[in-house]
């Protein structure tokens, strides 16, 4: 929104609903919405911000489904992160004692 000669000039956008394009403004929240990303089981993300307490695997280690890859401590709770698939470790992005924020990539599998 822009002020011009005391009158608010509205910058309308278009919104498509059931194939009809409506001229309208976007809400603050609509602009902030996150685009959906399909989850990839090969990428191990931090589901909560915290500290890496233990890393059980190295680059190139073979892993089995359900194996504990690392321990992520958050909210006074030690969370074991298990491998969702079997395979090998492609990359380890963290070391013990490191602080991570939510959604950081911790380990990549292949």
């Amino acid at each position: 929104m822009e002020e011009k000669n005391g009158e608010k000039k509205l910058e309308y956008k278009s919104l498509n609903i059931d194939l009809v394009r409506y001229k309208t403004l976007y809400s603050h929240k609509y602009l902030l919405r996150k685009t959906y990303q399909k989850s990839d089981p090969r990428m191990i993300h931090a589901f909560i911000p915290g500290i890496i307490r233990k890393v059980n695997v190295k680059k190139g280690s073979p892993v089995e489904m359900g194996e504990t890859l690392l321990v992520l401590e958050a909210m006074k709770m030690k969370n074991e992160i298990h491998s969702p698939i079997g395979g090998t470790v492609k990359q380890v992005h963290i070391r013990e004692g490191q602080k991570v924020t939510k959604s950081d990539v911790l380990i990549e599998l292949e």
């Binding site: 919104l15 609903i17 059931d18 409506y22 403004l25 809400s27 919405r33 959906y36």
Partner: protein, 515 residues
């Protein structure tokens, strides 16, 4: 000691207590643009109407050397008074006394005035300005909060409860405002959060300022916790006074009627507000102003989910709750937040005998993965639940589009609206013409020599047949198709005719709404 000396002694004691946290603490409070607790109460109430109680209450803390401390009034001011001549019970936390922290006796003062409000059946106003629980009192502080929350819940729907956040309101303390009907916040003064920036930083490593985490703007725009946003404390008090003029004292009364006043039709010409092309935007608040008395409309949650407009107005002197889709924002769709916002307001109006006027112009529900995953099903269902449950007079006017689930949700006859009127511009259909024609005539379009021509032709055919109010009117789903300039007349008559409306719902302990 004679009466004179005793009176002098009383005066001395009062002076001591009224000093609160002392000159220094008061200066600090004022330096950041905040008034003191008593000043705030006096500014909200009618002049000279405040009577204070429990001035000499002392705190009950024994541990950590607390027994040696004197905390005047235990950090909270309570009393009764009037607003626009209305009786109210009121309390204000005093930040100058131990940071307005809540101990057992502080809580007892609050619960005492709450119990009072319930007995007298008058509104309760709470001014929050507190650092949180008084840690030295341990579990007694928590018990205090619990006692307040229980009373907030019991009073909900019985007496109006108003929370004014004029300082920090953190941790468990925020749940009392959350349980009340209306939350007022002031820019740069109000701060609300469950866990503050410090804790978030140490525990989670995320850095954020207090203002960005839980400032007035955040709660007005993003979280939806606040209902009224003001630039200053004075502006906030004016909003409170205006709100009080629209609502009744308790759930057994109706809002006080005002003298009837015509709308400012020169400024708000109902015939020229709405573009006939259903894809073009306009400000639906102008339609409300064109219908209501003196064009006075008090909007609630103006900044949160602006795709639906809610608020109070008067028609022929009578308070009315308005709910209207806002085509100017997000084409007026229903989504998670707008359904939630409107549903709660519908329940408020129903609890306090305020008739509802619903203005409809929406293309349906907002499509999107984020909406589906955020639970648009259960949030959208709240609106259906609230309208169906409501037994106050319900008047609906369909201005333009009423498509799909949105048509049902916006107080249709099927959810027991008492009166449904439609303008000749109304389009009541299962979806917009483009989408509908594409599905119904899929094969004809696909097999046509010129599919684009055929599509256009079929959209036009669908528009002519269904994009009007007469199909719905033929089934009796619309009571009358009316000219826009007759809207006020029809609404006035509908209100008058349903003034003694009495409708019941099956007896039950309570339902299970999609909270």
């Amino acid at each position: 000691m004679g009466l004179k000396q005793k009176t002098a002694d009383l005066k001395k004691r009062m002076r001591e207590a009224i000093k609160g946290g002392g000159t220094k603490a008061i200066e600090k409070q004022k330096s950041i643009g905040k008034k003191t607790a008593r000043e705030r109460i006096i500014s909200i109430l009618d002049p000279k109407s405040f009577y204070e109680y429990d001035l000499f209450v002392e705190h009950a803390g024994k541990d950590f050397d607390m027994d040696k401390k004197y905390l005047p009034g235990d950090g909270v001011v309570t009393g009764t008074g009037t607003i626009n001549g209305y009786p109210v019970c009121i309390y204000a936390q005093d930040f100058t006394v131990a940071g307005g922290s809540l101990g057992w006796m502080h809580a007892k003062k609050i619960t005492k005035i709450m119990d009072h409000a319930m007995k007298l059946k008058v509104p309760l106003i709470g001014i929050n300005d507190s650092g949180g629980a008084r840690i030295q009192e341990g579990v007694n502080a928590l018990a205090g909060y619990g006692e307040i929350f229980f009373r907030n819940t019991m009073a909900s729907g019985v007496i109006p409860q108003i929370s004014v956040i004029l300082g920090p309101c953190a941790g468990g303390a925020v749940y009392s405002p959350a349980l009340t009907d209306f939350v007022f916040v002031v820019d740069k003064v109000s701060k609300m959060f469950i866990t503050g920036p410090e804790v978030i930083k140490t525990v989670l490593g995320e850095e954020i300022s207090m203002e960005e985490l839980g400032g007035a703007r955040v709660h007005s725009e993003t979280s939806g916790n606040a209902h009224f946003f003001a630039e200053s404390e004075e502006a906030c008090f004016d909003q409170i006074k205006q709100l009080m003029s629209f609502i009744p004292w308790n759930n057994e009364k109706k809002a006080e009627p005002f003298p009837k006043k015509a709308p400012k039709t020169r400024q708000y010409n109902i015939e020229s507000i709405i573009p006939s092309d259903p894809r073009l935007p306009y400000d639906v608040r102008e339609v409300i102003r064109a219908i209501c008395d003196d064009s006075e409309f008090l909007e609630i949650q103006e900044l949160f989910a602006p795709n639906i407009v809610i608020g109070f107005a008067r028609v022929a002197g009578q308070s009315v709750g308005c709910i209207a889709n806002q085509p100017m924002c997000m084409a007026g769709v229903l989504d998670v937040d707008s359904s939630d916002k409107a549903a709660r307001f519908v329940r408020y109006c129903d609890s306090f005998n305020i008739p509802m006027l619903t203005l409809v112009d929406l293309p349906g529900y907002l499509p999107g993965i984020d909406q589906e995953h955020a639970g648009v099903i259960r949030h959208g269902a709240k609106l259906l639940y609230a309208y169906s449950e409501a037994t106050v007079p319900k008047i609906t006017v369909i201005l333009r589009k009423a498509y799909g689930g949105g048509y049902i949700a916006m107080c249709s006859h099927h959810l027991r609206a008492d009166f449904v009127f439609a303008w000749p511009t109304a389009e009541i259909a299962v979806m917009g013409p483009e989408g509908a024609a594409n599905i119904i005539f899929r094969n004809e379009i696909k097999n046509a020599e010129n599919p684009e021509e055929m599509r256009k032709h079929k959209i036009k055919e669908y528009k002519t047949k269904f994009a009007n109010p007469y199909v719905a009117a033929a089934y009796g789903y619309i009571d009358a198709v009316i000219e826009p300039h007759d809207t006020r007349q029809f609404v006035m008559h509908a209100l008058e005719i349903s003034s003694v409306k009495s409708e019941t719902r099956p007896a039950k302990k309570h339902g299970v709404p999609p909270f």
